[in-house]
Subunit: 315 residues, 3 copies
C-alpha cells in the first residue's frame, strides 16, 4: 500500500481485517519494519484520539514519531497556486510538503473541510497536494471528505461485536450545536458498502450525503423506523451537503435515547467521539452496557498500526 486515503487503497476488506486482528494480537511483533523509520503527524486541526492512537501505533511498529501542529508549532501555509505571497502566510505547501517528506518515511495529515468552498473540500485540496508532493507515503488522519482510519476501526469493531453474519447497521444523523464535516459519515458509508451488511442511513431531509458516497444505499427519513431490528446504531452529526456546510436542524427529537434503542435488536451503540452527551446521545444510552464507544476508540490504534504495517512492508 502506497497511501491510505480511502477504502480503495486497501488490497481487500478481508486482507485489511486479517492484518488488523493480527496486529491487535501481536502489537510489538513487527518492530523490525519500523526500525529507524520516522512518521511525521501533521495536524491542521486539533486532535486527541487520532493523535494519540496514530502515534501509539507508530511506536508499536518501532517507528519514531514527530508531531507538527500547523498554525501553532509551525505557521500558516499557503495552498493556492500562483499567489503573490505578501500576506499572512510565509510558506507555501509546495515547499513545506516535499521538505517534510525529506525528514521522514511516512506522513500522516489531518485537514478538515473548511466549509468555505465545496469544490476545495470535495477535491481534498490539502491532502491531494500531500499525495502529489510528499515523495513518501501519506496517511489521511481525516481529510475534508473522509476519515478512513475511523471507518476501518468501525469495521473492525462491528466484526468483533456482531452476533450474526449479516448485521443490520444504521447510521443515524443526530443534532449538534456546530456545523461538522461529512467526513465520518461519508467514509463510514463508503466502507460499509464494501461489506455485505444491511446498511440503512437515517437523517432529516436536507442532510443527504454526497451522491458519490451514498450511492444506492437505503435512506430512511423516519428515524424510529430505521432503528427497528438494528444490530448497530452509529450516531453522528454532519452539516448539510446540499446547503453546503449549513445547520438546517438542531432538532433534539433526533437525539439517540433509550426509547429508540428499545426498538432495536438489542443494538450496540457506536460513535466516533468526541460526542456531545444529551445532545447526540443521552447519558442513559452511552453509559449502558450496549455502548461500545470505548472499544471502538481503542481500535483506532489497531487500524492505524495495520495501515502502517501495510505501508512499511512495501517501503
Amino acid at each position: 500500500m502506497k497511501n491510505f486515503i480511502s477504502v480503495k487503497d486497501i488490497p481487500s476488506l478481508q486482507y485489511a481485517l486479517d492484518v488488523a486482528f493480527d496486529v491487535k494480537e501481536n502489537p510489538f511483533a513487527y518492530q523490525h519494519l519500523g526500525k529507524n523509520k520516522t512518521m511525521v503527524l501533521i495536524f491542521f486541526n486539533s486532535s486527541l484520539r487520532t493523535r494519540l492512537s496514530t502515534q501509539k501505533a507508530a511506536m508499536n511498529m518501532g517507528m519514531n514519531t514527530m508531531v507538527l501542529n500547523v498554525n501553532e508549532d509551525g505557521w500558516q501555509l499557503e495552498s493556492d497556486l500562483g499567489v503573490v505571497m505578501d500576506g499572512d502566510k510565509p510558506e507555501h505547501l509546495l515547499e513545506a510538503i516535499p521538505v517534510i517528506g525529506q525528514y521522514c518515511d511516512v506522513i500522516g495529515v489531518r485537514s478538515f473541510a473548511r466549509f468555505q468552498n465545496k469544490e476545495d473540500d470535495y477535491s481534498e485540496k490539502i491532502i491531494s497536494q500531500f499525495v502529489e508532493y510528499a515523495g513518501v507515503p501519506v496517511v489521511s488522519m481525516e481529510g475534508a471528505t473522509r476519515h478512513p482510519l475511523q471507518s476501518y476501526a468501525d469495521l473492525v469493531t462491528i466484526e468483533e461485536f456482531k452476533q450474526k453474519e449479516r448485521p443490520k447497521v444504521v447510521l443515524t444523523w443526530a443534532p449538534h450545536p456546530r456545523a461538522l464535516p461529512q467526513a465520518v459519515a461519508n467514509s463510514f458509508v463508503e466502507w460499509m458498502r464494501e461489506t455485505d451488511y444491511e446498511l440503512v442511513v437515517t437523517h432529516p431531509e436536507g442532510y443527504e450525503l454526497a451522491p458519490d458516497f451514498i450511492g444506492n444505499v437505503k435512506v430512511e427519513y423516519n428515524q424510529k423506523k430505521a432503528f427497528e431490528e438494528a444490530d448497530f446504531i452509529y450516531a453522528k452529526n454532519w452539516a448539510s451537503y446540499s446547503s453546503y456546510g449549513q445547520i438546517l436542524s438542531k432538532d433534539l427529537s433526533w437525539t439517540v435515547n433509550e426509547e429508540k434503542m428499545a426498538l432495536t435488536n438489542n443494538a450496540k451503540f457506536m460513535h466516533c467521539l468526541p460526542v456531545r452527551r444529551n445532545v447526540v446521545v443521552t447519558d442513559g444510552v452511552i453509559d449502558s452496557k450496549n455502548s461500545i464507544v470505548v472499544p471502538q476508540a481503542a481500535n483506532r490504534e489497531v487500524t492505524a498500526q495495520a495501515v502502517l504495517k501495510m505501508i512499511l512492508e512495501e517501503l
Copy 2:
C-alpha cells in the same frame, strides 16, 4: 503501587528513598520494565520542570511518551455530570479518560486548583475522575491540593543535604503577585509529617493551610523566630485557604533575604521553582552557595523515575 496521588500511595518513606537513590545511581538499569510501555502526560496547566523531568524519567525507564496539552493540542473537556453539552466543550472526561487509557500503560495528569469552588478543588475533581475511569495507573503531576512528585523530590534533596539526623525544616510563606494554589505547601507538609524532622510552618495570619494538611504541625507567625536555628528554609507562596483563593498580603517584608538567612543554622535554601526573584527571595539568597534549588529540581527526574519503577513493577 497502583496510583501515585499522595504520600499514602508509597509503601513506606524508607522504601521510597531507597528506590529513589537506586534509580539515581542506575538510571538506565530498568529499561526492561518500560519496554513497549507508554506513558501519556496530560497537562490541563502548563509545565516546564514537571513535563521535562517526568518525560525524561519515563525515557530512562525505556518507556515511550506522548504529551497532550489539553485546551491546546486537544480540546476543552467537560467534567460535570448530567450536562446537556451544547456549549464550548465538545467532549466529556467520561469518554476522554478511558479512551486515553486504551492508548497507554500509565497516565500522568496535571490539573491545578481553579479557585472557583473550594469543594471541587479539595475533592480533586479532575484527578479523581482519572483514577476512577482510566483503567491504568495514574500519576499526579500536581493536582488541586497536592504535588507529590515535588514533595518526594524535596524529601530526597533534604536527605542528601542534611548535616544532622533530625534537621529543622521551615516552610515559609513568601509574597507573590498572583494567587497560587496550596498544593506544594500542603504536600510538603504531608510528606514532612511522615519524617521525624523538626517541622515549622510560618506565614501571615489568614494563610493557615487546610486542617487536614497542617494537622498538629507547629505554626509560628513570626517569620524571623521561625528561621532561628533552621537547617532548611523552604519558601513558597500560596493563596489563602480560609478566604479561599484570595491574596491577603503582598507584604515584601516576608521576602526571604540575606538578613533572615543569617538567623538560621547556615540553612540551605529550597524552592520548587519557578520563583519570582526579589519578590519571593532576593538574588543574594538564591544565588548564594546555600541555594540548592537546582539539585532540588534535578531530583524531580529521580523521583518521577522511582514512581514509574514502582508502578511498572506491579503492572
Copy 3:
C-alpha cells in the same frame, strides 16, 4: 566540540564536511553515541524545518528528544538581571537554563533577534546565557545574529552541486513584507568567508550587513551585475542593520526572476525557506530544475546530525 554557535566552533571546514558526508551516507551508524542521551529543543520562536530536521538528526543518533515551545508549552522567561519579578514573567533564565540542563545532555535553542535593542541582539543575550548556565553543550538552532545549522547545510549543498572547484556564489537581498533578522545572511557570509569560493553580496543601499560579518567581502549594489557568471544565487531578505530592524525597501525589482537567472552561469537557486513566492522569487525560478531548495533543506538534517555526532563524541 562543546557548543555549536558559529563557524568558529567547528574544528575545520574540511572536517565538518567530512563528518557531514559520512553521516549522510550512514545515518544510523552512530546510535551507540546517542544511546540514553537526551536532547531538549527549546523554541522561543516557531519552527518547521529546524524542529523536524534537528529532532530527526537526534533520533538518527539514537538520542531521545524533548521539545519545549517557550511562551506556549512553558511560560514567559525573564532574561534581565536584578529585576523585581512582579510582572508577567514567572521564571528567570537563571533558574530555567540550569534546570533544563539537568534533564538532558544537549540543549538546542532558537531565539531570534527581537529588533528592540541592537545591543541585546548582537550580544546574543539569550543564547549566551544558555552557554554560560546550561552545564551541557548548547546548539544554536538560530540565534539573533547567526543560523549556523543553516549555513553548514548551505555549504554542504554547494559542495554537492558545484561544477567547478571555486564557484561564484552570490547572496542577494530580496524584498519581503516583514522585517526579518540578519541571522541567515550574516551566518552565510561568515561560513562562505572560510571557503575559497568567489563570494559577492548584493543589496540595496542601507542594507549593509554588520561590519564584523561582511568584513572585506565584495558588495555589488547592482543586482544584475552581481548575477553575471554566478554559479549559485542565494536569495534572502533581511531588515536593515544600520537603521536597525527597519524595512527600507519592498522594491519588487529585486525579486529573483527568470530574466536575472539568465545572466548567470546556469546558476543553482538557493533559499533557506520559508520563502514568499512571487515576492522573494518567482514561481518560474523556484519551480525550475535549477532550484535546489529542497535538497538544501534536506541537508539541514545532515548537518544537525554531524553537529550532534561531533558533540556526543566529546561528552
